[in-house]
Symmetry: C2
Subunit: 251 residues, 2 copies
């Protein structure tokens, strides 16, 4: 909780004030970072931004996750802050956004004790990628990371995000958020395969998806150089569905 009593060591306190209310002790820096995933060029990609090189800027020119300080005047809450960062870098408003965790320590930022609240977002593919921020760039995920070494502990955060994504994909309908509103089952399967980095069985995949009651066919077909495929869309507001068998299968 937050018992204002229990204070003690105050060490190196330059960044504080608010006298009298028992809150006159140094506070860590508070930030929010967002791991933004999308499927591009048949691969899983992450959006990174290149850091500037102003005075006192740590990790100049390095790539980092989009993010920044919590703005206590602007941001109602952490999620709103994450949404703001996302909007600033991608122009997009409301994809799938989920909290990933927080990282905080005395050493992760040379400017002082800092804690970041990390989120991960899924962007629909193909959607004309929209106007990216000038300093933002997509990078393909390779293994558990990305080619450039990242600023701060962002490499670790990214690794965690990738693991979380892969893990959830094993037993949820999450990948549907990486596709546009209408998609075919082979397209959806391909997204699963890209994220998991392994092939899946066609018939088991279809059975599972169709029996999960989370997608519904639309009265259209995707045409190509061969047999057309049925288009589907997510049933509304069906939050990520869990597939895994557990002890007492429902029903």
């Amino acid at each position: 909780m937050a018992d204002g009593q229990e204070r003690d060591s105050r060490g190196g306190g330059k960044e504080t004030a608010k006298g009298g209310s028992g809150l006159d002790f140094p506070r860590p820096l508070a930030m929010v970072d967002v791991v933004i995933f999308a499927i591009r060029a048949d691969a899983l990609q992450v959006l990174l931004v290149q850091r500037g090189a102003g005075a006192g800027e740590p990790f100049p020119h390095a790539f980092a996750l989009p993010g920044g300080f919590v703005d206590v005047g602007k941001d109602r809450d952490l999620e709103a802050c994450a949404m703001r960062k996302l909007r600033e870098k991608t122009g997009v408003a409301s994809p799938y956004l989920e909290q990933l965790g927080s990282w905080g320590s005395a050493t992760r930022d040379p400017r002082g004790w800092s804690a970041t609240h990390a989120y991960f977002a899924l962007m629909p593919a193909g959607g004309a990628s929209a106007p990216l921020a000038a300093d933002a760039q997509w990078f393909a995920v390779q293994g558990e990371g990305v080619k450039p070494r990242l600023a701060f502990d962002h490499g670790e955060i990214l690794k965690t995000a990738i693991q979380r994504l892969r893990n959830k994909v094993e037993y949820t309908s999450l990948p549907a958020y990486l596709l546009p509103a209408e998609f075919t089952l082979p397209e959806l399967q391909r997204v699963y395969e890209i994220v998991l980095d392994r092939p899946l069985e066609k018939s088991a995949f279809r059975t599972r998806m169709l029996s999960a009651d989370l997608i519904e066919p639309v009265a259209k077909m995707r045409r190509g150089p061969n047999r057309p495929a049925q288009l589907y869309r997510l049933k509304k507001a069906k939050a990520p569905v869990y597939f895994a068998r557990t002890f007492n299968p429902p029903g």
Copy 2:
């Protein structure tokens, strides 16, 4: 992330300093709270502390999760801070500790914009409950919460922790951390049943546990008024195992 440039609205800034380095803007309060679970009296219980009623203390006399401010002088990182809170309230050092998420907003604490990093911990049962802090008390979990209304947004945090625990119990070996080092399979099954609040099949449970390669028999039996039961222990450092069937079962 953390681009020191991107600052703007400064609103209501009393709690700051560090002039010149571009960090002269108000910072949120940073806290850590811990949801501590244990099996007691054949039920799932949570440890809560009663808040004091000093000057400026929000939610006087209310129950809250154990926690408090991050101490930038004492705490190396967030997990160390959580461990410290845990030790202060229970005297115990190293049970299972996992991050739950973070909650931050302008309104959750009347003292100002604050963000808490929530953890959840599992304590071994039976272990002579140790010397609890004076203001700490165990409460049985009922449904998705606990009888007393909690301070701050701790009710919501607790609810999330309970859901997470139940969810993970469905497909991991987590409950083993709620038992002492040596336990019988019926005891383990009982813990699963308490957490999930539903009965499980004996034979399926045994098959699953024994084939998961995470426990091993010790050369002892638990004696009682009937047939003795084999004692088991967790195989060392076997982090929580996942049981769920997925697309391509390993093997």
